[in-house]
């Protein structure tokens, strides 16, 4: 009887242990395609537009650093991957020029990196945004529309892309061997998660491909601000985002 009970307990625990094993995700590698992949990464703000400023720390500097981490990670994901930054330095670039660059290169995905500011200091965590038109039109446009609303044609894919990034930002990952943490520890980010927003975002207006804004954290929250200022932590955050993007591209292409 006792043996039977132990067997039953073992059977009940088996799915749980399998789930636990699955929740640690190994790195996504070898992104190979026949046509190549173009990824455009947009470090928000820059030049005279410093973005959010909290205690002398500018959003524009964090987004540029984060974008460079992401670019390096994406370029290692496969030899057919072309990564373009909308700015490489502290320069002013208009939203139209940023998006125009992505459209001209027929990018497969467009990632705009921001740091958030919420009036509520207790508000913490990353947040995904995609271009949602319902607040403007009450639905998808039926025919030719103005330039800014083109992303509505990619709404479903943008939502899917946001979902992948969100999933990997909250997942426990096995880091790559050459990552900052040495590759032998499971990596779970301490970042919280805030609900995604569908909105008419200037950074996404005119994007003719799946596109998302990633708000890395709330600069008005002490913990988030400490993460964003810490290069090691920023590198880890971008590693999680890279994994989400590569997984999306692998499944979608």
């Amino acid at each position: 009887m006792k043996t039977n009970n132990m067997l039953l307990a073992a059977l009940l625990l088996l799915p749980a242990s399998l789930f636990a094993a699955q929740s640690t995700i190994p790195p996504v590698t070898d992104l190979q395609t026949t046509a190549g992949v173009v990824v455009v990464i947009d470090p928000a703000h820059g030049g005279g537009d410093r973005g959010v400023n909290v205690k002398g720390i500018n959003e524009k500097d964090i987004t540029l650093k984060a974008a460079k981490y992401l670019k390096a990670g994406m370029e290692k994901a496969g030899k057919d991957v072309t990564v373009i930054l909308t700015r490489n330095a502290d320069t002013t670039v208009s939203p139209e020029d940023r998006v125009g660059r992505a459209n001209n290169h027929r990018a497969d995905i467009y990632i705009s990196i921001h740091c958030d500011y919420s009036v509520n200091e207790s508000d913490s965590g990353f947040r995904l945004c995609y271009y949602g038109g319902e607040k403007i039109f009450g639905g998808k446009p039926q025919q030719a529309v103005e330039w800014s609303t083109v992303p509505l044609y990619h709404l479903d894919e943008s939502v899917k892309l946001a979902g992948f990034v969100e999933r990997y930002l909250t997942a426990t990952l096995i880091p790559e061997s050459n990552s900052v943490d040495g590759g032998d520890k499971n990596d779970t980010l301490p970042l919280g998660k805030r609900s995604p927003l569908a909105l008419a975002h200037l950074s996404l207006a005119g994007t003719d491909m799946p596109a998302v804004v990633i708000e890395l954290g709330n600069m008005n929250n002490r913990d988030d601000m400490n993460y964003l200022r810490d290069d090691r932590m920023l590198s880890r955050i971008m590693y999680h985002i890279k994994e989400g993007l590569v997984r999306y591209l692998k499944e979608g292409l």
Partner: protein
């Protein structure tokens, strides 16, 4: 003798003209408040009466103002009373004045940037509401998608969920169109309420 009388008449005429100009300027200032209703400088009721947004004896209506919740970070709908003015736009102006004045409860947050004041609000023939706000709405915005989002949609939700006849909201800053407050939420379109959030129903 005749010349003295003429000089006196001319002098009186000048004084009357001067008084008329001063009275006109004062009346213009009172009626328009030079265009800005600053809740920090006047009480809401004096601002409302200066704009003749209601008449004494009118009944009161309940409206819901969309402030921020200090705990969840989302909306905190707060009930308030306005006079049932005959003109819908006057009811809307009263509501917006209450919104710009900010919440009184300590656990509520004002989503609008500091110093934001209502300059004017008017309805076009298609029932699109134009809300003209003072420059502080943009100049005091700290940036960030979330702060811009809630600043804009606290206005849009407050108007459209209280006044269903309004079909959309255009936001102007100091009388002019603006692309965005600080590079995030597009303001050049006609805005509809944010019905994605679970706490916007009234």
């Amino acid at each position: 003798m005749e010349n003295n009388r003429k000089d006196r008449k001319a002098g009186n005429g000048f004084i009357y003209s001067l008084i008329a100009v001063v009275v006109f300027a004062a009346a213009y200032y009172v009626v328009t408040g030079t265009g800005v209703l600053n809740p920090n400088e006047r009480t809401i009721s004096s601002a409302m009466s200066a704009y003749k947004l209601y008449s004494e004896g009118e009944k009161k209506n309940t409206v819901v103002l969309f402030f921020g919740d200090a705990v969840s970070g989302g909306y905190r709908p707060v009930k308030a009373e306005i006079y049932s003015s005959k003109l819908p736009v006057n009811r809307i102006k009263q509501t917006l004045l209450l919104l710009t004045a900010g919440p009184s409860a300590a656990d509520c947050r004002q989503f609008l940037p500091e110093g934001t004041a209502l300059k004017e609000a008017y309805l076009d023939p298609n029932n699109i509401l134009y809300v003209d706000l003072s420059t502080e709405f943009a100049s005091n915005c700290r940036g960030g998608t979330t702060s811009e989002y809630y600043a804009v949609y606290s206005i849009v939700n407050t108007v459209m969920l209280n006044f269903p006849a309004v079909r959309g909201v255009r936001i102007l800053v100091d009388g002019a169109e603006k692309k965005s407050l600080a590079g995030h939420i597009m303001l050049e379109s006609i805005l509809k309420p944010d019905t994605d959030s679970g706490d916007v129903n009234i």
